[in-house]
Amino acid sequence: MIPELGHFAIIIALLLAVTQAVLPLVGAQRGNLTLMAVARPAAQGQFVFLIIAYACLVYSFLVNDFTVENVARNSFSQLPEVYRITASWGSHEGSLLVWVLMLAFWGAAVSVFSRHLPDDMVARVIGVMGLISIGFIAFMLFTSNPFERLIPAPPDGRDMNPLLQDWGMIIHPPMLYMGYVGFAVAFAFAIAALLSGRLDAAWARWSRPWTTVAWAFLTLGIVLGSWWAYRELGWGGWWFWDPTENASFMPWLAGTALIHSLAVSEKRGAFKAWTVLLALTTFSLSLLGTFLVRSGVLSSVHAFATDPARGAFILGFLAVVIGGSLILYAWRAPKMITGGAFSWFSREAMLLANNVILLAAMGSVLLGTLYPLLMDALGMGKISVGPPYFNAVFVPLMAPALFLLGVGPLMRWKGDSLPDIATRLKWALAVAVVTGFALPFTLEGFNPWASLGFFLAIWIILTVLIGFRERLKHGARLSSLPRGFWGMQLAHFGLAWGIAGMTLVANYEQEKDVRMNVGEHTTLAGYTFTFKGTTEHDGPNYRAARGTVEVSRDGKLLRTLHPEKRIYNASGMPMTEAAVDYSLTSDIYVSLGEPLDDEAKAWAVRVYHKPFINWMWFGATLMILGGFLAASDRRYRIAVKKLEAPAGSQGAAA
């Protein structure tokens, strides 16, 4: 009964999405206010019905209703309750429902926070989001119904993928989807602007907070995913250039370019056509990511169950949405007037350079991700593209962008003078070069890659400080600086901190793969690891061999770690559960490999020393906070009042 209610709620949501798409768009084209007014209630109604549907799905998981195929495939009676809830988005069908729920959430949010926008703009934006909803809800209903019944019901479920039974996975997918789908708002604004022909600074200002918030969510989602991979995959790595990761990284790169380019379009009215194209590209990459992950065209370690019918549907949808928007762009873009001339040495030029580099980096990731597919389609054999390609291409591309990141925010709009900038920045540059070069010598000796990383991190941090100092020198007080400025500084500082962490962990991590008998020890990075053997341990839905490894330094016991090798009851899947000792300056990471010898109780044990890896997560957290801070800038709210004021005075006059 409950699953049918959920199914029915999705159907109503689809009908509301159709209403939300058709009536307001027609109304906006004809200037019919009644039709345009349908937009808000339809968007909110769609959101309500998807909440109902989602609640029904969670309920089915909670009560272990194995007559629902989705539950039978992805849950298990012994699965702890919290994972039964998260199992609702662990499957393809369930995650699709979360996806449309998020989309409806953003639609409802636009309907609430858009009082200051002209009616036709709101109608168009919400209408376009309705169109996207239609596609996804139809996809769900026709190819991947999360409430499909399975009769007769199996006695028990097949269990959730053990890899996903981790609390990092509880919030990773919803955050990632919030980001992915959030770019739909920027996309809808761009389409609305193209449709109405009103591509002005106001459009850029309206898009900015939405885009920045979506970007912050996407960043959060990616970081959680990376952190999960680090803890859960047992290999101690945090980024694998896997197609699924790339699928989220490409919209992130394009989205980063977009928030910078929107800044120029708002402040200077320059390169608007480029900004619109970026907004279309960013969301298109989100859709592309969905297609790549779910259609099975690429082989990935954590892809969903794949099905060519689904792939064909998403591809068709992709072709309509992206193709349609690019046709609209080609048709309308030439009519856009580009304002605001600027010299090659100006803040605009720096931001343009940053944009070009970010997109080139995105393109290189896209090429690396799709290359196996292209080769295969051309009949040129099966190949796989791995980290060596990505590291070789990506790092040299990003280094100049990071250098410019230091200069850009300190430059004046329209044009600046090179000698002037040089005087303002010469000390920062000198300090960054010297310390960057010298730091590796205090660690392990000359290392150009580490030097480059340190140089960039120090350079960005110093320029952030200079940015504050110059503002204060011109009479501003810290408390009076706008949140947009704080957000930018915080995000840039966080990036620098993260780069420092990445540099340290990439260049100075140590690992060892050893065979250990009970009582034996090994040393790494000054720490001594003593293996005390394993004991049997029963979890709620798995059996585990739990190892005991004592970590000591200079004869003093620091910490006892318990890495586990688990066998999950329902799937029989083995899982490595690493044990990590986290600290501000380094992580000590121990994972159990294979039992080597039953008699002697020897195991293959992997130990890692990861210096400063936590700095990456801290830095990323600051970037996310910076994004939210910038999106909450007063400017976006003042704009509301300015627009409302004339309306009020008119009322008084009348």
């Binding site: 065209v297 690429l298 690019l326 080609a330 597919l373």
Partner: protein
């Protein structure tokens, strides 16, 4: 013209994706195709004094099915293997891979045994010689002992009809 560039690039991508939908990225060509099946001599499940080695199958077209009692997907294909052994008289050897819990004999007694022999690869070494990446995997080996085909994942009736049957016919089984 410039404004049409994004659309053209996208159209090219869509073309590739459409093609890609009909390709299988997991279908990795095995370097063992056309090579002699690696030799091994292993004890047989349920009869520890007997051994099995691929030599014994010379002159026959046979399947080497790598399976394990702990492997859920293997259970999916088990009924199909049963019907193949019973109705089509296909010779299937079931390499019991890394069966640490010693469950194979019990399982085969309970659900039926489609295999002409079940060599017991406890250490997993024979499987590795064949380039096994996971269970189940099935190799088609011809009369002269050369590996002619490899299939990764469970065999479904559809896959059997499309992939295995023509190959077996070609090899004169």
């Amino acid at each position: 013209m410039k404004r049409w560039i994004p659309l053209i690039l996208f159209a090219v991508l869509v073309g590739f994706f459409a093609k890609g939908l009909f390709l299988n990225p997991r279908e990795v060509p095995s370097p063992f195709i056309g090579k002699p099946a690696p030799a091994f001599t292993l004890p047989v499940v349920g009869a520890a004094e007997q051994t099995f080695s691929p030599e014994e199958m010379k002159g026959k077209v046979w399947l080497l099915n790598v399976w394990a009692p702990w492997c859920v997907a293997c259970r999916q294909e088990h009924p199909l293997l049963m019907s193949l052994a019973r109705d089509r008289d296909v010779a299937i050897v079931g390499l019991n891979w890394k069966d640490k819990d010693r469950e194979a004999a019990r399982l085969l007694a309970q659900h039926g045994n489609p295999y002409v022999a079940v060599p017991d690869d406890l250490s997993g070494k024979a499987g590795i010689d064949y380039g096994v990446t996971g269970t189940p995997e099935t190799y088609v080996i011809d009369k002269s002992g050369l590996i002619q085909m490899k299939h990764v994942g469970p065999i479904t009736p559809e896959i059997w009809e499309k992939k295995f049957e023509p190959k077996l016919k070609e090899l004169g089984a």
